[in-house]
Symmetry: C2
Subunit: 117 residues, 2 copies
């Protein structure tokens, strides 16, 4: 292969050009990657799934998750920055919930995938 271009005659240049035109923009790819990256961690999946069941404060999440309160707060900040969760303060407590119904759909598609095999 020379310069990433294989010389096989049968390579369908037209197909490659067509696919190139259909490709996602770089910013779209980045945004998609951020969402899937957010869901690509066992702790965050557990948090998001728990929040899909009920609105929960940090303390309650800590009771559900077997890791430190600090670790959970760090992950919540990440999810907040990506706008996957929103929060509401009530006295000393902070209650988190899902910010977007699409996340539920992402979950159900993912679950459909693992059940499919």
């Amino acid at each position: 292969m020379v310069d990433g271009i294989c010389e096989i005659k049968s390579v369908d240049r037209q197909k490659v050009i067509r696919v190139k035109e259909e490709m996602l923009s770089y910013t779209d790819v980045q945004e998609l990657a951020n969402i899937y990256k957010a869901m690509g961690d066992e702790t965050r999946i557990t948090i998001l799934y728990a929040l899909s069941c009920a609105e929960l404060c940090v303390c309650e999440l800590t009771q559900l998750l077997d890791i430190s309160q600090s670790a959970i707060s760090h992950q919540l900040r990440l999810l907040r920055n990506l706008r996957l969760v929103k929060y509401r303060k009530e006295g000393k407590q902070v209650f988190y919930s899902l910010d977007d119904e699409h996340i539920l759909n992402l979950f159900s598609q993912g679950i459909a995938h693992i059940q499919h095999r």
Copy 2:
């Protein structure tokens, strides 16, 4: 907070117990994380998206992706192991395609999410 249990009287123990019962199993969480982790990388998203447009050989992917052929092969192996792509040999070439229609749904949900804001 003592031992991960906050003493606020208003904390709804019943709610926490109910959520705990609804939680995903650890293996489900792991499998979900693996899928999202696979899609949580810009290179892999680009590969998967390209394959959603057409069946492509490694050489054609190399023309589309601006990284080395080696890097692409490494990523394809990962996607193969997760059964997100399948392949077909034809002489020297190896043609890859998506292994599962759920991935398209995962994409469309993700795209819906980034367009939603």
